[in-house]
Amino acid sequence: MVKAELNKRSPLRVFEKTINGGVGKGNIGVIASKKGVGKTACLVHIATDKLFRGRRVIHVSFSQKVDHIITWYEDIFKEIAKKRDLENAVDVHDEIIKNRVIMNFSKGGITVDQLLSSLKAMIQDGNFTANSIIFDGYDISAAQDVDVQKLKNFARDLGLEIWFSSSLKGEDPVFLENGVPEDLVSRIDDIDVLVTLKFEGDFVRLQVVKDHDNLETKDMNLRLEPKTMLIVRD
């Protein structure tokens, strides 16, 4: 399969359709679930899909080592390439790598100002005009109002969308009736798109809880394939 075809048939098109075409410039999307369900895999697949379509992505992480994030990308790419029998996979890989930067902040207690100043340096000095930023592991539920506002302003001023992962506390996180996780209730007004991941039997199901102005839980008809952690259609 060639790249264009692969993009057309990607399950991420379904994903986008259910959230009205995407998170959108200047907006904030959140993937929420308890620990160890597959948030990072989901975000990496979302990012990889963007890369496949020639968009530029900055992946921000807060782990000790940057290698395993790269490994995530490599694995997800390999799985997609294998599944779709991608033509010229090596060339496609070399091409999309140019559009991805991983920025890791390993020291705890970094401020939003420092974060944004590094991102700005990358985008402006490094001439890396990102379309999306993935914040993997930034606890938006515990963030200060003023910090969230700064992040939102940043997204708006630079015309990019930001995805966060949000780790819900406990083994069995509490969700409100409208599907919003309790941990995120106080933040829900700042979030434009909220997707939750939940175990359903053996696999993980994706649900949209908030789609821009629409606060109504919808099934996305997507799930994570247990072995590859790819987002796939039901």
């Binding site: 890791n104 902040f105 970094i110 000095d125 490094g126 890396f128």
Partner: protein, 694 residues
């Protein structure tokens, strides 16, 4: 004979140029009774400090080559490996860092943490070397060890803790207060030999108490016993030493000593700290690669009963022949032992075993594991691993990357020509990534290496050490050519010039090969080309690959399949088919969409976060791809992939962009396609050059 490994220390002394490393080393040798008088680095007496053995070092007052020297301090055997502090000398630094188990980071109490300190510290961190800091030059005007300690924390990210405080600073610097024993230590006499231990002077008591509390708080994190003892008010010196040691070994703590080597203050206390806190050879994990087992990692044990494994980390040409510095990692080496060199696959007998004190040496009969010693007259290269027969371990990967840059050099006169040969011979032995050959076309001597700086260092050394002045050409990137699609060929080589003619026809196709450089497939059925001529075809294709038609560089990643052909009963020969193959290749190559490949380097830039915008920009300007940026607070590391051809002069650029506070390393990563516009330029250049020649 000392065999107790727990009394052995292998340490390096690392520092910014001019923070007094050589002076400190000199004093250590003196106090350990290795030398009987003290010389100055830029010797007024013309003798010079003992550790500086190379001319270049003497002139610049710096130390480049890593000589090892052995001293004894209070029953402990300390090997001091003099590490080069300069970033450019990568291979030397890396080898030296491999063999040492701990290090003393020397800092100037006035200048504090300077860019070079940052560099050497980063290198140590990379090799997991536990460190203690020595804040030197406390006698200088403006000395402020407290500020330097804070810089260790802020700039280098160390958990630095003063274990001493100074008694007086600048011209009043007399000694230190030991915060563990809570005693004042004075260094009296002309050469500081007379140590006087007294109670803490009254005016320092409060400060000492306060600083001791700070120290205990930090140190107790590493010992529950100490924490308990603190609560019960029963702290002992042993408990503190043990806790400091634990924190130091895991590199979570950096004990800080204070003094002035030049004024003979604090050196003995530093030596105490070295033996107390830095690891013994058994406390450091060392890994070898088992060559019989696919380079599987094997943990070495500092056990003298195990089979011997030793690393040759440094060669030196002395007046009596080649001296090889080795570190024994496992087992032991005795005079007369037979050892096996895993690189050359040759056995040799251990003749003379020597302990070195810079330029003087002492014969010994055996070297235990963990020890550093030297062998005489062994034919080997730096980085070779010696094993007990039967073992096939290597301390370093046998994989040597191909050089990515070359430079034409020519001697300035006859003497230089002779010396240049000697120098090249020596350097290629020392460093497997440095190569040299004579280009048959231009008859020029070409040196090849891993980067611009790499070659610069050797050019400089040629001049200094071998008195060989050379003219240097423009650096040349090692490009490659490759094809990007399949193309067919069907070529007949025919010549009829009286006598027996030449005849051969070959047909088939060429296609890109993703792994490997060249593959030849014979799928001829029915003997269209007689079997005896097939090797000649292979040979012909191979020879055609040596020089591509785009820019004259070797062609890689190609698979040739022949599936048809024709021969003549009289006129066919090996020669005829070789020519046919070459002709066939020339026919197919342009049709296979050839491209130019260039070496892509993995570049890692480390520096203060405040400059990261400049670093990002500089990489972006050089056709680089930023892979990641790791922000560790004050410092960040940027990993990128950048074409080698864009990296010329990068060290200068980086220096000016970051006030000299960032450093970079690069290594060969892969060959990548050259962008169209640059490819066209290269082709044009090549054609112009060819035109000129003809």
């Amino acid at each position: 004979m000392k065999t107790d490994i727990s009394l052995m220390r292998n340490i390096g002394i690392s520092a910014h140029i001019d923070s007094g490393k050589t002076t400190l080393t000199e004093r250590i040798l003196y106090y350990c009774k290795k030398i009987h008088a003290i010389h100055e680095v830029r010797g007024k007496d013309g003798v010079g400090a003992t550790m500086d053995s190379m001319e270049l070092e003497k002139e610049r007052g710096i130390t480049i080559a890593s000589a090892a020297t052995n001293v004894t301090w209070k029953g402990h055997d300390i090997n001091i490996i003099d590490t080069p502090g300069h970033v450019d000398f990568t291979i030397e630094v890396e080898r030296a860092l491999r063999v040492l188990d701990g290090a003393v980071l020397v800092l100037c109490s006035v200048a504090g943490v300077q860019s070079q300190s940052i560099t050497v510290d980063r290198q140590m961190k990379r090799y997991n070397v536990p460190r203690i800091a020595f804040i030197n030059k406390c006698d200088r005007t403006g000395a402020n060890p407290y500020k330097v300690k804070d810089q260790l924390i802020e700039k280098l990210g160390h958990n630095a803790v003063l274990i001493q405080i100074p008694i007086g600073l600048e011209d009043k610097h007399e000694g230190v207060v030991d915060l563990v024993t809570m005693k004042a230590v004075y260094f009296r006499g002309d050469q500081g030999d007379d140590i006087e231990i007294t109670d803490i002077p009254d005016d320092l008591k409060d400060e000492a108490e306060e600083k001791r509390e700070v120290m205990l708080d930090a140190v107790s994190m590493f010992s529950d016993e100490l924490m308990e003892a603190m609560m019960e008010g029963e702290v002992t010196e042993e408990l503190i030493h043990e806790a400091i040691r634990k924190g130091t070994l895991t590199q979570e703590l950096t004990p800080v000593c204070i003094g002035s080597a030049y004024k003979n203050k604090g050196v003995q206390s530093l030596l105490d700290a070295v033996v107390q806190y830095l690891p013994t050879p058994t406390e450091v994990e060392n890994i070898a690669l088992d060559l019989d087992n696919d380079e599987q990692e094997v943990k070495l044990e500092a056990d003298e009963t195990k089979p011997t494994v030793a690393l040759a980390f440094k060669l030196e040409d002395g007046q009596y022949g080649q001296l090889t510095y080795i570190r024994v990692y496992q087992g032991k080496i005795k005079k007369g032992d037979e050892l096996y060199n895993t690189r050359s696959r040759k056995k040799f007998k251990v003749g003379r075993l020597i302990k070195m004190h810079s330029d003087h040496m002492e014969d010994i009969t055996e070297a235990n594991c963990g020890d550093i010693t030297a062998l005489f007259g062994i034919d080997c290269a730096s980085g070779d691993t010696f094993n007990a027969p039967g073992l096939n371990y290597s301390m370093t990967s046998m994989f040597v990357p191909a050089p990515v840059i070359s430079l034409a050099i020519s001697p300035k006169d006859k003497t230089a020509a002779d010396n240049m040969g000697k120098a090249l011979n020596r350097f290629t032995k020392e460093d497997p990534t440095f190569r040299t050959f004579v280009d048959p076309e231009s008859n020029q001597t070409i040196v090849q290496g891993m980067g611009e700086l790499h070659l610069d260092v050797y050019i400089e050394r040629m001049k200094r050490e071998y008195n060989a002045e050379v003219e240097v050409g423009r650096p040349q990137v090692a490009y490659r050519e490759a094809i990007s699609r399949r193309a067919d060929f069907n070529y007949t080589h025919k010549k009829q010039t009286g006598g027996s003619g030449q005849y051969g026809r070959v047909a088939g196709f060429i296609e890109p090969l993703s792994e490997g450089e060249y593959e030849f497939v014979n799928s001829i059925k029915g003997g269209a080309i007689p079997t005896e001529y097939i090797p000649a075809c292979d040979k012909g294709f191979k020879s055609a690959l040596a020089k591509g038609s785009l820019i004259g560089f070797p062609i890689v990643g190609i698979k040739v399949t022949i599936n048809d052909g024709q021969s003549h009963p009289v006129d066919s020969s090996d020669m005829a088919f070789q020519h046919a193959a070459i002709g066939a290749f020339k026919e197919a190559y342009p049709k296979a969409k050839p491209v130019i490949l260039e070496p892509i380097m993995k570049v890692s830039v480390e520096g203060p976060t405040e400059f990261q915008g400049n670093v990002f920009g500089s990489i972006n300007q050089r056709r680089g791809i930023i892979i990641s940026s790791v922000d560790e607070g004050a410092f960040s590391t940027v990993e990128a992939e950048v074409p080698l051809s864009e990296m010329f002069g990068y060290s200068t650029t980086l220096r000016s962009l970051t006030q000299g506070k960032a450093e970079f390393t690069m290594e060969f990563l892969k060959y990548g396609k050259v962008p169209m516009s640059i490819s066209e330029e290269l082709i044009k250049e090549y054609q112009d050059k060819k035109k000129k020649e003809s």
